[in-house]
Subunit: 641 residues, 2 copies
């Protein structure tokens, strides 16, 4: 055991459980920092500010109680935040917050299951529209005459002219990428002047990016990758650019989660750490690199034949991926560094895939409304719809688009993470163990829950929250203003504190954590705030677009696929639109990115689209307050009964 | 002292003299390799093949003679090449060839002066034509309105639109370079929305590459660098792009010299070493990087304000600089990898300057005729000349251009390095100690020499060779076929071998090396071969161009500036053109590169020019042999006397 002696800290080692990894602590580092530095998983929703209380860990040093450890100088004293976030019981069990904890002696640190980040669930239920197959990456097989005394053209000219001749493209505007030049002489001779050339076309220009032996089969082996870069989950698809088929899909947790659950805490991570931006960029690039490898393996193709990658993410995620400072996206007036689409050789971002091709980020709409939304619009071709259509994408931010061939309006509303299960006392992501459906028996007042993956519930996810609130409304457990009624007699409704009440969704015995799962008044309020923002945004958007009620409402994203649409209408998540068809469109951002991969003109369209969209800054409208408040209210079903 | 024991070599250290550096030898490494690896200077004209005999070094191990050292296993035995290249005397003095020598014991290795590479002399006597000042790099100062709730454009849009508005360039075609985006948000705010933007314009497109505080003076601080990338010497100029003034010039030895003196040995270095290409590319890039720093310091500017670099070199040098395989440039049909001009961000070549801008290589003409020649044509605007003009650039290769506004013809002739002083028994580069002018007194037959830098002569350089041969001709010491006449009575002419004769230019006492400086029959032959090639090339070029005799002959390069033009005519270096004006135009390649820096349209012109030039493959013409032979002959001045 090593101790701080005379001010000079000796090396301290932590054994992490259950991973079993033994890690040396760097000086003046919190345990959260050690965990992050070494790629271990832990929840840190607030980004390490000691406010979310999610990063609980348990400290074991020779079975000694915390007070003794603090007295002996083995750990730092409890911080004010820890006293607030940890129950007395937890403190007695040596629980601490990883982000507030410093260790000065060798210790074992247990990261309990509830503090670990779980693998998310992602919907894979795209209904792809038919797109023209017109990819930016194409190939052609050419035969060149070998050099002679009469024909001493350079290798590059020889290849460019052969490609231009074969494709009918302009000879003067055909060139080879520098990276290919480095390999060209050996390659042309090895292939005996007969090669398959892979090229990018944009406008009249042709850039040859790769060349190699003519493939033996008909398959030109041209692949592309579409990435839906979410704050929580990264979903990637591998597509065959010559057939338009999707060959494989993979997804993973966004590795940045260890630096904060939502974009706001990631931005603050960048602001608080001198190399925070680089760190976050590295994390997400590593994830994407791994996904590329996984996809190639899954589809049985060579990763170097992936020639293009299209990334669609929200504004902050695209900035972090590109290594651009996201600081000002997070505060009014929500200014991003970049809005335009950007295309770079993958190597410039330190990516290995595509090895010979480019990475493109779809254009950002405005401020918080990102390229993922543009991708959704691309997938649904909102600009070609004959009827007024509203697209609602609920994540940590709600993004709403509204329009048709006549015009598109768009807004973003700060729904907060409640609808994703975060900031709800027993909330969790849509992962195994989460309650996804709730039904309350109006007669007995008892709840029935459906749990993802079956078994006992560990928490509640977004769709479960909608359900439980809708059931509260239906059964009259809460009034129009969202307050738990006193006069109901559900056995699960009980007082909490002096003025408040709460609903026990699962008792300690019923739950998978051994603790009660409770919906508090504060949880109901969180949902009210979210739906109020959504409602106000939608109303203002319809108003900006001329007041025509939407005939179709499309729900995008995982959340849209999971929620019970009837319940969503019951709690008036969206403005009531009589006769409107509500549809889930799945991971439309992924579909939009794929569409841009298959049709290069659509990509230009994305740029156009992003400029055409009229962005409505909802919060700055005079009516917003009133509408927001109106939106927080529930319909009074009790009276209907 | 450490010895090879049981097959396992222990670390061997060499103390190099006169540099005094002590270097550890890697296993199975020749002394030449050790010297190269550690950046010491040594001549290795043949590139380390043991054939040129220039890499002589002297081995000292406790004063022991070589035979003993070999017997004791301290060094490897003499190779066959060493036995050929080293005199008995040299061998007795422990001389070896560095490229053949391996040491197994600690030793002192002396690199004698004649084996060291000397600093070259470069002409700095450009007579710059007036060029339109129309650089690719420009700047503008713009003021933006800060973001607000009404104006939430991204930082990039804000800057691009301000620049487009101020310059009148197209808004849609204005963008920021990725590297600038990384710095942009902090920068705009630090400068309070008022910046100087540096941009590149090409066609309708505008790319903003840098931005910073508005300069306090009128000077926008935009600089460019022009590099004449020679096989032996690299000459660089720093220019102010806003005034067209040249601020500083620097030159240095091409560091690749340690891997061979001429392009042929450099190509073979690439072929013989697995990482030879990378090594040569690194060497020249390091040299250029150092020159950039020197220039900035000399001119008192900040190196990061150098936004552009234009490189003009021969085909092999440009390939090596770009890291492209030069192998096939060296053999018929002389095919290069690339001919077109190429522009890359400097970072892609691992260069630090220009930090924010580009490096451009001028286009290559064909095979051996490189961008340096294109630069010469640019400088002289041969395509606008009203009268037939011939430009002769003599280096290791002779490059001849011929034409006027009606057309340009060009050829390359293998003059060999004789005219540069190499491959002449006492030849050396035009460096201090070299004989640059020779006069032979017809009466006494005694030579008078002028030495660069004064003092005793150490060898003879190109212009001296021309002089001495012209004097032989004038004094009738050699006949029309170049053979030393027997009947002359110069005291310096003496028999050599059974059938040959030689001329003693400096006796052992007169010379600075303590050895005689002798012009042998073989030396005369070398000059004959060179002038034969030049003559045949020029005649064939004139013929290809319609037979009009040139009215002006321009001699480019250092050699052209130094030679005595009358003597060159006397030995019939060029076809005799009655009435033609012969002019030296100095380092025209540098001037051409500068011109391209000042006028971006001229750069496009270079591409055009390189395509317009009709390249004449002289050696493949049926008449070549006869003309070549005719060209080797001297006029018979003895008869005129
Ligand atoms: S409390 Fe949020 S990370 Fe520690
Ligand atoms: S003999 Fe030419 S380098 Fe050694």
């Amino acid at each position: 055991m090593q101790q701080k002696k005379g001010g000079r800290a000796m090396a301290v080692r932590i054994l992490f459980q259950p991973s079993g990894r033994r890690i040396k602590v760097r000086q003046r580092e919190t345990v959260l920092e050690t965990i992050r530095q070494n790629g271990l998983e832990i929840r840190a929703v607030c980004g390490g500010h000691g406010t979310c209380g999610k990063c609980k860990v348990r400290v074991h040093i020779k079975g000694r109680p915390m007070q003794n450890l603090i007295r002996e100088g083995a750990v730092n004293p409890l911080t004010w935040n820890e006293k607030k976030c940890l129950t007395l019981q937890e403190r007695q069990k040596n629980f601490r917050l990883a982000c507030c904890l410093e260790l000065y002696q060798d210790a074992t640190v247990e990261i309990p299951a509830e503090s670990r980040t779980e693998q998310g669930v992602i919907v894979e239920r795209g209904r792809r529209a038919r797109f023209l197959l017109n990819p930016r990456v194409q190939s052609v097989c050419v035969t060149m005459s070998p050099p002679s005394l009469e024909d001493f053209r350079s290798d590059e000219e020889r290849l460019c002219e052969a490609v231009a001749c074969e494709t009918g493209r302009m000879k003067e505007k055909t060139c080879c990428r520098y990276g290919l030049l480095l390999r060209l002489p050996a390659l042309l001779r090895k292939c005996r002047w007969r090669v398959q050339a892979v090229f990018l076309s944009s406008g009249e220009a042709t850039e040859i990016i790769d060349a190699g032996p003519v493939p033996e089969t008909e398959n030109p082996e041209l692949y592309g990758m579409a990435v839906d870069l979410g704050t929580t989950t990264i979903a990637a698809s591998l597509a065959d650019l010559s057939t338009g088929r999707v060959l494989a899909r993979c997804s993973c947790m966004n590795g940045q989660i260890c630096c904060g659950d939502d974009v706001v805490s990631r931005i603050s991570h960048v602001m608080m750490h001198s190399d925070g931006l680089r760190q976050l960029a590295d994390l997400v690039r590593q994830d994407i690199g791994r996904l590329a490898g996984d996809l190639a393996e899954k589809a049985g193709i060579r990763a170097e034949r992936i020639y293009e990658m299209i990334v669609a993410g929200n504004t902050v995620m695209e900035h972090l991926f590109l290594g651009l400072d996201p600081e000002r996206i997070g505060k009014s007036p929500f200014v991003s560094v970049l809005r335009r689409p950007v295309t770079l050789p993958a190597g410039q971002l330190g990516l290995k895939v595509p090895q010979f091709g480019d990475v493109s980020c779809l254009p950002i709409e405005a401020g918080f409304v990102g390229a993922d939304n543009v991708a959704v619009l691309l997938a649904e071709r909102l600009d070609q719809q004959p009827v007024r259509t509203m697209v609602i994408d609920i994540g940590t931010n709600g993004e709403i688009d509204y329009g048709d061939a006549e015009g598109i309006w768009s807004t973003s509303c700060a729904t907060g993470p409640a609808l994703e299960g975060a900031e709800i006392s027993c909330g969790m992501r849509a992962a195994p163990g989460a309650i996804e459906r709730v039904r309350i028996d109006a007669a007995t007042g008892l709840p029935f829950c459906r749990v993802i993956g079956g078994g006992k519930p560990k928490g509640i996810c977004g769709s479960g929250i909608i359900d439980v609130i809708a059931e509260f409304v239906r059964c009259g457990l809460i009034g129009p203003d969202g307050t738990f009624r006193k006069e109901t007699d559900s056995p699960r409704l009980r007082p909490a504190g002096r003025h408040s009440r709460e609903f026990v969704l699962a008792t300690a015995e019923e739950s998978g954590t051994g603790k009660e799962l409770v919906i508090t008044q504060k949880d109901v309020r969180a949902v009210q705030l979210a739906k109020g923002a959504l409602y106000a945004g939608a109303v203002l958007l319809i108003r900006a677009g001329g007041g025509k009620a939407p005939e179709r409402i499309l729900l995008a994203g995982a959340f849209g696929s999971y929620i019970d649409k009837e319940n969503a209408c019951r709690i008036r998540m969206f403005p009531l639109c009589p006769g409107a068809v509500i549809e889930s469109i799945g991971n439309a951002a992924s579909e939009g990115a794929l569409a841009a991969l298959f049709d290069r003109d659509l990509r230009d369209k994305a740029g156009e689209l992003s400029r055409q969209i009229r962005f409505v800054e909802a919060a700055s409208q005079t009516d917003f307050q009133r509408l927001f408040f109106e939106g927080t209210m529930f319909p009074d079903h009790s009276k209907e009964k």
